[in-house]
Symmetry: C2
Subunit: 167 residues, 2 copies
DNA sequence: GGAACCGCTTGCAGTTTACAACCGGTCTGC
DNA sequence: GCAGACCGGTTGTAAACTGCAAGCGGTTCC
């Protein structure tokens, strides 16, 4: 029902889904870090989320239609998490939010590289990235010739990590 | 110090500033509703924030450099709140977030009008709007000929409110 | 067959939120 | 000149949420 919403304002409704300190970070890790199950999100996160919080957020994001879960065919006890189309369409929001943070907050260089690349690429790069996510998470083959944005972002990050100082 | 941050990731740092259910709504009301003091934010908000939460968020946003406060020359007991340049640069983020919410969440039509207009206008409209906000909040005169985006948004909203049903 | 790994759940303490009542100063209308 | 509305808050309280650590039954790896 709509009765449990504070208002019908688009920004408010978005915040009711994403307006906490963890939900968007989970989506970020699934998107940019390609983390697809519980343990990966738990242990490979920069910020160190607690197990009960992660379980709670995954449940909430699932019932809000942002992610789906299915048994992983490879490992029987694993549960494969996938982003839904609405979540994939958050790419421009995350790109702008990252660009804003990079400009105004004390980011660390190696973690800022991806935000910078994503900002410079603009809408065309975001479209490529969303097509790639649709392939990875929804099983929709991406248009032939689409480059892997995920690979490019990861390589840029690793290159920056390998560099000892700003040369 | 940077020691009190969970990580230096741009998205994480942005969420440490804006990642709760109220901060962005306050900025939204100051931006789009032109609410510039405590009582206006308190009573004219769609969502009904509590006084202590509002006071707390205003203090936090101030120390994070998102807003400033100054005595209002017109009313001696009033405090005039202003957005800073970083906060004004959130316009594209809010535009994208509103557009996303409008597409995927159960928004009410009259509140969705502004998001739609802002989305259709794109970057040129956002630039006009940011220039207008710089004039209103920072005292920087906007380039001559710049239209008032705030007026356009408000009129579109009022027109939608006045309409009884979707005709 | 033992150890590591899987997605959680539970218990607990500390923090944050929501709601309502209240406060001293100030401006407004008469 | 004064009563009442308005100003930006503070305080108290209960409920909800968060962070941390431990543990649990089942699965997979070696």
């Amino acid at each position: 029902m709509a009765g449990d919403h504070r208002s019908g304002c688009p920004i408010n409704l978005s915040l009711e889904v994403l307006g906490d300190k963890w939900s968007l970070l989970i989506i970020r890790d699934m998107m940019f870090g390609n983390r697809r199950h519980f343990r990966a999100l738990l242990t490979e996160s920069e910020e160190g989320i607690a197990t009960n919080i992660l379980a709670d957020r995954l449940a909430r994001l699932t019932e809000q239609g942002m992610i789906t879960s299915a048994p992983d065919p490879a490992h029987k006890q694993r549960i494969l998490l996938s982003l839904t189309e609405p979540a994939i369409q958050l790419v421009p929001v995350l790109a702008h939010l990252g660009a804003w943070g990079r400009r105004h907050l004390p980011v660390t260089p190696e973690l800022a590289v991806r935000a910078e690349l994503l900002e410079r690429g603009g809408q065309p790069l975001w479209d490529d990235f969303m097509n790639e996510l649709r392939e990875l998470h929804l099983g929709i083959p991406r248009p032939p010739g689409t480059p892997s944005v995920l690979t490019a972002l990861t390589e840029a990050y690793l290159a920056e990590v390998g560099r000892p100082q700003t040369p």
